[in-house]
């Protein structure tokens, strides 16, 4: 006899887990399918966890979840060949009872989350890849095919939390292929260091205090991209990501880019003597608002990276994934309660919920940014140079009077862009993009 569920969730990342958990909790019969050897086995993230999104799903997650460190200090570095100019913010306020941001290791975190999903009553099968969607003659999605022998499995609705590649959605013609200019390729390494060493190098007082370093400037070698350094309990995550289209143009290899980053005088000392544990590469959807595909159809919903839900500017993704997953689930639950079928029309409810949430508001706010960054590489080259130069002029005491110095600094900025006009238009573009 054929298997039938209220909902099938493709993927056991943050989005799929959020969706499966929420529906299972509400008593729906849920089947979740992940291709990984175990949930999260192949998943990649920096990774910073934003408590809020998860709290709305599992309020007391802090008691159980495998969290590495909570972030007490944020550094923003603008990198130049030999220097970095930075803004740091550290506050004891972050040592609050319910910290707002944590570093995590996805492999462990996803495992825990998935455990919760199963405890909530969902069925999970791993090492199984969904190969295609099953549609009825009317074209409504009614189930999935997998790479395992056996009959298709049916469901009232299929939630696609399959991540950025989203091959299932693509194959079923639900969404277009990714555009190189809409995805970044990120490479990341995890380096083992004794707990004490991590604490010393980042002068962390508390056992579980952590630091986050977001990096721009020369780290991306002129491409649109950023780098990051996160402190875990007994390891450091370091990575850099740039748009695929830029990698294609420049023919720079991601690995050499990361190597350069690691050997930077400001970075090398942080990694000294560490043992590399893993090297991973993963895509990040960075097309933003304009790249979001159709999100719903008869019998299907897209959540998380598969829907391009990433806020590149603030490096938020998992929280958007969890939120979209939750909202999709709540939609399905509501339809179930109202005994309405999961048709295109009824699922519009999901898009409405999204529109009201921070997810769409934020992505909309930055909708112009990806494009502008893409067409204004100077933002990643000229300004960092100028800034570094200006800072040095400012700091060095060499008998030059301060007024002249200020003059030099201002000129440094102007010359960087060959004239004030360019500087001003740049500023204007950014400002507009930010609005």
């Amino acid at each position: 006899m054929a298997e039938h569920f209220d909902a099938i969730v493709v993927g056991a990342g943050p989005s799929g887990n959020a969706a499966a958990y929420t529906m299972a909790k509400a008593g729906l019969s849920v089947l979740q399918i992940d291709r990984g050897e175990y949930p999260g086995s192949k998943n990649v993230q920096g990774a910073i966890l934003y408590a809020d999104a998860l709290e709305r799903i599992i309020p007391d997650f802090r008691e159980e979840a495998p969290l590495e460190r909570h972030v007490v200090e944020q550094r923003m570095w603008c990198l130049e060949e030999k220097s970095h100019t930075g803004v740091h913010h550290r506050s004891d306020d972050f040592n609050e009872e319910k910290p707002n941001r944590y570093t995590i290791l996805r492999a462990q975190f996803d495992r825990w989350f998935s455990e919760e999903v199963r405890n909530a009553g969902a069925l999970l099968i791993c090492e199984t890849t969904v190969t295609d969607l099953v549609k009825d003659e009317a074209g409504k999605v009614i189930g999935v095919e997998t790479d395992r022998e056996g009959p298709p499995i049916y469901a009232d609705v299929v939630i696609l939390g399959e991540g950025v590649n989203a091959l299932v959605g693509q194959r079923a013609g639900l969404r277009p292929e990714l555009k190189p200019a809409h995805v970044a390729l990120a490479v990341k390494e995890t380096h083992f260091l004794p707990e004490e060493t991590v604490r010393e190098r980042f002068n962390l007082a508390g056992e579980e205090d952590g630091v986050v370093i977001e990096v721009m400037g020369s780290v991306s070698s002129g491409m649109v991209g950023t780098g990051f350094i996160y402190t875990n309990r007994e390891s450091i995550s370091i990575g850099v990501g740039c748009l695929i289209s830029d990698f294609q143009e420049t023919e720079i290899s991601p690995y050499s880019l990361l190597d350069k980053f690691k050997s930077h005088p400001s970075v090398a000392p942080l990694l000294k003597g560490s043992e590399m544990k893993e090297y991973v590469a993963h895509l990040i959807p960075e097309g933003g608002y304009n790249a979001i595909p159709t999100l719903t159809g008869d019998g299907w919903v897209i959540v998380g990276d598969a829907g391009q839900f990433v806020n590149a500017v603030h490096r938020e993704g998992s929280n958007l994934a969890m939120t979209t997953g939750r909202l999709a689930a709540e939609t399905v639950i509501q339809l179930k309660v109202e005994e309405k079928p999961c048709t295109e029309a009824n699922l519009k409810l999901y898009r409405d919920k999204l529109a009201e949430s921070f997810v769409m508001k934020d992505l909309k706010k930055y909708r112009r940014l990806p494009d502008i960054l893409h067409r204004n590489k100077q933002l990643f080259t000229a300004y960092p140079k100028a800034l570094a130069k200006a800072m040095q002029t400012f700091i060095r005491v060499d008998g030059t009077d301060k007024k002249t110095k200020e003059g030099q600094m201002v000129r440094a900025l102007r010359d960087a862009r060959g004239g004030w006009w360019n500087v001003i238009t740049d500023m204007f573009k950014i400002a507009r993009a930010w609005r």
Partner: protein
């Protein structure tokens, strides 16, 4: 296990599997020399998969049931589910704090006890184990179990040539030094399966769903039938691990041959010279020896 599970025709087979850390991913703490288990995924001991597959082949051919049994922490349930997903019929987990620290003797005691309990519901025909584990790596638990249960012990089995249920006879090929023994023995027996003898199958989607839904049998020491707890865990282990340490690095590194600007041929000659400088006697012996393929 409810009674319905027990009335079936064919063989009652139990496969002992162990959940082990994927040692490919184990790291040793550079400073404290302790294992950094953090995030090290666990797998079914690779050697046990050959045992499981062989067991399932027998089941498919002669009918019967394959039960997977493991002793380990509660999380070992994962491996049992994976085994069910691969096609095993039932799973039993024996887990108990007091099993912790078991060496091979205590492990085989606990497993043997659980096996007798399983056997009391319906006699076991064959117990399978892997050749060895990749963490314990002793290849002793199998023989230990056989000894305690008085099963005919067939280790390093490369193939099962014949099995006659009515006459309770079995013929196997056993790897031994320099050759293969063809052994005729009797059921019930314990077989430790040699690696590379078969390839583990991929469970069907139906297997996977069954595995995901399955109710595992979980036994504490008492429930498994253990009466004498002194035989379990650290207390029941005659061996004691006194010291754990990392292999000492050889202080003197390799003497490097300068290759800059050298052609392969030159490198070859230079390397040969270095070798003979280090091992003059070797050169003499080689020259003395009749040229291998003259």
């Amino acid at each position: 296990m409810d009674a319905s599970d027990l009335d079936f025709d064919g063989l009652n087979i139990v496969v002992c599997i162990k959940q082990v850390p994927d040692s490919a991913q184990i790291r040793v703490h550079p400073v404290t020399n302790t294992i950094m288990r953090q995030g090290v995924p666990t797998i079914i001991n690779p050697y046990d998969l050959f045992a499981l597959e062989e067991a399932m082949r027998l089941r498919d051919q002669y009918g019967g049931r394959v039960t997977v049994l493991t002793m380990g922490p509660p999380m070992a349930e994962e491996s049992l589910r994976r085994a069910l997903g691969l096609g095993a019929d039932r799973a039993v987990l024996i887990t108990d704090r007091r099993f912790a620290g078991s060496d091979t003797l205590a492990t085989s005691f606990a497993l043997a006890t659980a096996l007798s309990k399983i056997g009391s519901e319906r006699p076991i025909d064959i117990v399978f184990t892997g050749k060895q584990t990749i963490d314990g790596d002793t290849a002793q638990v199998g023989p230990g179990i056989a000894r305690r249960l008085g099963l005919n012990q067939l280790t390093y089995v490369a193939a099962i040539d014949m099995l006659d249920q009515d006459r309770a006879e079995i013929v196997v090929r056993r790897r031994s030094e320099g050759g293969v023994q063809v052994l005729k023995s009797a059921l019930p027996c314990l077989i430790t399966m040699l690696e590379g003898t078969n390839e583990i199958r991929r469970g069907t989607i139906t297997d996977m769903l069954r595995a995901a839904r399955a109710e595992l049998t979980v036994w504490s020491a008492e429930e498994a039938g253990v009466e004498d707890l002194m035989m379990c865990g650290l207390r029941g282990s005659p061996t004691v691990v006194k010291r754990v340490f990392a292999p000492s690095p050889r202080e003197d590194k390799a003497e490097m041959l300068a290759v800059e600007g050298k052609k392969p041929a030159q490198i070859g000659d230079a390397l040969l010279d270095m070798i003979f400088v280090q091992q003059p006697k070797l050169e003499a012996d080689l020259l003395a020896a009749p040229t291998p393929n003259a």
